[in-house]
Amino acid sequence: MLQKIYDWIDDRIDITPIWRDIADHEVPEHVNPAHHFSAFVYCFGGLTFFVVVIQILSGMFLTMYYVPDIENAWKSVYYLQTEVAHAQIVRGMHHWGASVVIVMLLLHTLRVFFQGAYKKPRELNWMVGVLIFFIMLGLGFTGYLLPWDNKAYFATQVGLEIAEQVPFIGEQLKTLLAGDANIVGAQTLTRFFAIHVFFLPGALFALLAVHFILIRRQGISGPL
C-alpha cells in the first residue's frame, strides 16, 4: 500500500533522486563507531542537532499554554507544570535540553578543534559554527526570562547590565534588548519572547542549513 502511494507520487514528480541525494551516501569507516569505538566523537554534531530538534518541538508545545505577559507568564508556567497532563515532562525536556544542547555543542566543537577539522577547506563551516554557538547562547538567555520568576528576572537584569558594558553602543543595545531604557518589564518579556521563539530559531534554521550543506559539499574530514 505504502509502496503503491510512493510509486504513484514518484511516477509523477520523480522524488527518488531528491531523497537519494540527501540520504544515500556511505559513512566512511573512520567515523563509524562500529569499526573504531573512538569514532563516537563524531556523534556529537548529530547529537547537538537531535537536542535542537527536541528544543524546537517541546518549545512549540509549551507555547500552547505559555503567555508572554508579566501578569500571567509565571501563572501559565505554573499551571502547565501542575495541572496539564505530561506538561511537566515537556517543560522538563525544554528546561534540561537547554543545558544539554550547550554541552553537546561544546563537545562537538572540541572534537573539531582537536582533530584540526576546521582547517582548509573547512574554515567557513567553523565560522558558521561559531555563529550557531552565539545563536544558541541567545536562545538560552532569552528563554531564561520567560518563566518570569525571581531567578529569571534578576538573571536578565544582570545579563542586560553585561550588554550595557559593550563599548560606545552599550546603552542603546541594552534598551534595544529590554524595550525600555530603565525597566525590565512588560516590554522586555514580549521582546524576549519574540526573539526566543521567532527571530533566533529562524536564524538558527538558516545557519544549520548552511552548516549541513557545507558538510555535504566538503565531506567529513579524513582520518587523523
Binding site: 534595544l176 524595550g179 525600555d180
Partner: protein, 170 residues
C-alpha cells in the same frame, strides 16, 4: 534599431529597473518593521518627579541607613508602583548623600557594611565589589564606577528623591 551606440542595453535597463523597484518594495516592507523594533532606543527617557521618601532630615545620621519607597512606573501599557531603595546619610560636611544600591559592576544590590571583613564600606556579595563611604569604588574590586547618586531636595524638613544618576568624572 538605430545604429547609434547604445549606452544602456535593453537588458541592463530592465535589470536596473527591476532591481530598483524590488529594492524599493523591500525597503518599504522592512523600514516600518525596523523602526518599530528600535522605537524604545529613540524614545526620550522621561524625567521622573521627586518623591517624598518619608524620611525627616533630622533623622538622617552619619551612619548610612537603607530607605525604601515607592514610585509610580509606566512600562508601556503597564502601570504599577515599584520599590526603590537608597543608602542615605550625612557626610562630614553635614550634606545629605543618597546613593543607589545598584552595584556598578553588574547590577547586584550593595549594602553598607555588608561584609564583616570590610567595615565602613559598601559591599556587593556577587563578586566582592566594594565602595568607600563616599560611594567611590575601591580600586582592585570589580566595580569601575562610583555608586549612582539620587537627585535630591529637602522640602519642609522631609527628604525628596528622584532618579539615580551616574556621577560626573567617575
Amino acid at each position: 534599431m538605430s545604429e547609434k551606440k547604445q549606452q544602456v542595453s535593453r537588458r541592463q535597463f530592465l535589470n536596473y529597473t527591476l532591481t530598483g523597484v524590488g529594492g524599493f518594495m523591500a525597503a518599504g516592507m522592512l523600514a516600518p518593521m525596523l523602526r518599530m523594533a528600535v522605537d524604545p532606543v529613540l524614545q526620550e527617557s522621561g524625567h521622573g518627579d521627586l518623591t517624598n521618601v518619608s524620611l525627616a532630615v533630622e533623622d538622617i545620621t552619619t551612619d548610612p541607613q537603607r530607605i525604601d519607597w515607592k514610585v509610580k512606573q509606566v512600562d508601556g501599557w503597564y502601570e504599577s508602583e515599584v520599590n526603590r531603595s537608597a543608602w542615605v546619610f550625612k557626610d562630614e560636611n553635614d550634606e545629605i548623600q543618597a546613593f543607589s544600591p545598584i552595584c556598578k559592576h553588574l547590577g547586584c544590590v550593595v549594602s553598607w557594611e555588608g561584609s564583616d571583613e570590610y567595615p565602613d564600606q559598601f559591599y556587593c556579595p556577587c563578586h566582592d565589589g566594594r565602595y568607600y563611604k563616599d560611594g567611590t569604588n575601591v580600586p582592585g574590586t570589580p566595580p569601575l564606577q562610583p555608586l549612582d547618586v539620587y537627585e535630591q531636595e529637602v522640602r519642609d524638613g522631609m527628604l525628596f528623591l528622584g532618579d539615580a544618576v551616574p556621577r560626573e568624572g567617575a
